[in-house]
């Protein structure tokens, strides 16, 4: 059987609900060719990353639409775009969106798309806090945390051929499964180490952007004060280390940067003004 035919047989054999659980991994392994592995493990280039990100972003927006408030959306884009300009990937097609959802969460999508929920925005007190959260998410994109997790997931859950086809978008069905997997990843969360890295480097991005560096710690402190059983934070708490642990880690590792830039602007008034329609 040719590889292409096998791929079709394989994909049609997997029921839609089973997502990435393919029937017989041993047979998949036998069929892994050197070529397939190369296709699926190569460094995904920026164009491919952006294309994967757009597909994942469209799905996330299928889960929760944008808040219908242009002023707030533009405001968050200004803050985010300014911060992204201070990162190592200033020229990505950065997009920021506030999702219409009461839960508190934020998502970084490969290729430069970042979402925060209305629920999280409502808990913030200043532009520096918003900047702290956006900077954390920007680091996920800069360090390709989600992209690497998607690629790894594709490789462990699809045959190398199917993973390669999905990543290169040459097979619609494989691609669909990949994007569904990439979207569900936001329910499973990243490695803790990626989250701690995004906290540490996020503080640096906020400092570079001229913001009071205590914005992110302030948001973490707000989260720490919430009941972990509250349905508004259930998903965020499940997918991130505990806020207290994140605060302790920042205090232990980032004290010099936190202190050196702590007197930069918080912009409480601008934040209140620009987001008042969202509250």
């Amino acid at each position: 059987m040719s590889r292409a035919l096998w791929l079709v047989a394989l994909l049609s054999a997997a029921p839609a609900q089973a997502q990435f659980k393919l029937p017989d991994l041993n047979i998949n392994k036998l069929l892994d060719t050197a070529k397939g592995v190369v296709k699926a493990t190569h460094e995904i280039n920026e164009t491919e990353e952006i294309a994967i990100g757009r597909d994942v972003a469209a799905r996330l927006l299928g889960a929760a639409p944008l808040m219908n408030d242009m002023r707030v959306q533009r405001y968050v884009n200004h803050v985010g775009r300014w911060l992204a300009s201070q990162s190592e990937r200033p020229d990505l097609p950065w997009r920021f969106g506030v999702m219409e959802a009461p839960q508190l969460n934020a998502f970084a999508v490969p290729g430069g798309t970042i979402f925060i929920t209305r629920g999280l925005l409502e808990k913030m007190h200043s532009e520096a806090e918003l900047a702290g959260v956006l900077s954390h998410e920007i680091v996920h994109v800069v360090r390709k945390h989600h992209l690497k997790a998607i690629q790894k997931g594709a490789l462990t859950q699809l045959s190398a051929d199917a993973a390669g086809a999905a990543l290169n978008n040459v097979n619609a069905e494989a691609r669909n499964k990949l994007i569904a997997f990439g979207t569900e990843m936001y329910s499973r969360g990243l490695d803790k180490g990626d989250e701690f890295e995004a906290d540490r480097l996020g503080v640096v991005i906020a400092a570079r952007g001229g913001y009071d560096t205590y914005g992110l710690p302030a948001v973490l402190q707000t989260l720490q004060g919430m009941n972990a059983q509250d349905s508004a934070v259930a998903l965020m708490f499940k997918t991130h280390p505990a806020p207290g642990e994140r605060l302790d880690t920042l205090a232990a590792k980032m004290q010099p940067v936190l202190e050196s830039y702590s007197s930069q602007p918080q912009l409480r008034e601008r934040f209140a003004l620009e987001t008042r329609t969202a509250r």
Binding site: L61, G62, N77, Q103, G119, A232
Partner: protein, 157 residues
């Protein structure tokens, strides 16, 4: 006067939040380690957090008003006294009728695991997202208006 006006307009700006100190802490007269000490607060003292300035938070306690290190505070009072479910998600979903023309029915729960698992692409919303994007130069102008200036800061080792 302007501040007072803003405080009235945006309750959030002047909002006091219940908190407690997680360790014995000196209440300072100003947000600085070398400021004079107003009082010594024992561990678990209940306070009201008023505003933050850098790594310091202004608080009100029965012993007086002043500043403590932000990270010596825990919001929401003692863990046992934390409020339960906000019920936010439920109220929200009854009141809101989707802005995107997507289905509006009971049982829509905002953004949770099930929504993520069953999400279908929404190209119309993606198009909206593209439309609200901001150019790099416009963002720089916005930063300048807020008196934000860029610095070179290295990542920690």
């Amino acid at each position: 006067m302007r501040l007072l006006f803003l405080a009235l307009l945006f309750p959030l700006l002047g909002h006091a939040e219940p908190a407690s100190v997680i360790r014995a802490t000196e209440l300072k007269s100003a947000p600085a380690t070398d400021a004079s000490t107003v009082a010594r607060l024992p561990e678990n003292t209940a306070v009201e957090a008023l505003e933050r300035q850098g790594g310091w938070t202004r608080i009100k306690a029965s012993a007086g008003e002043g500043w403590v290190k932000m990270l010596s505070l825990r919001y929401g009072g003692p863990a046992s006294a934390k409020k339960g479910d906000t019920g936010l998600a439920q109220v929200f979903n009854v009141a809101r009728t989707g802005s995107s023309g997507t289905q509006v029915t009971t049982g829509v729960r905002g953004l949770d695991e099930e929504k993520l698992a069953n999400a279908q692409p929404n190209p119309a919303e993606l198009e909206k997202l593209n439309k609200v994007a901001v150019e790099r130069n416009a963002a720089a102008g916005f930063a300048a208006k807020g008196k934000l200036s860029a610095h070179q800061v290295d990542y920690p080792k």
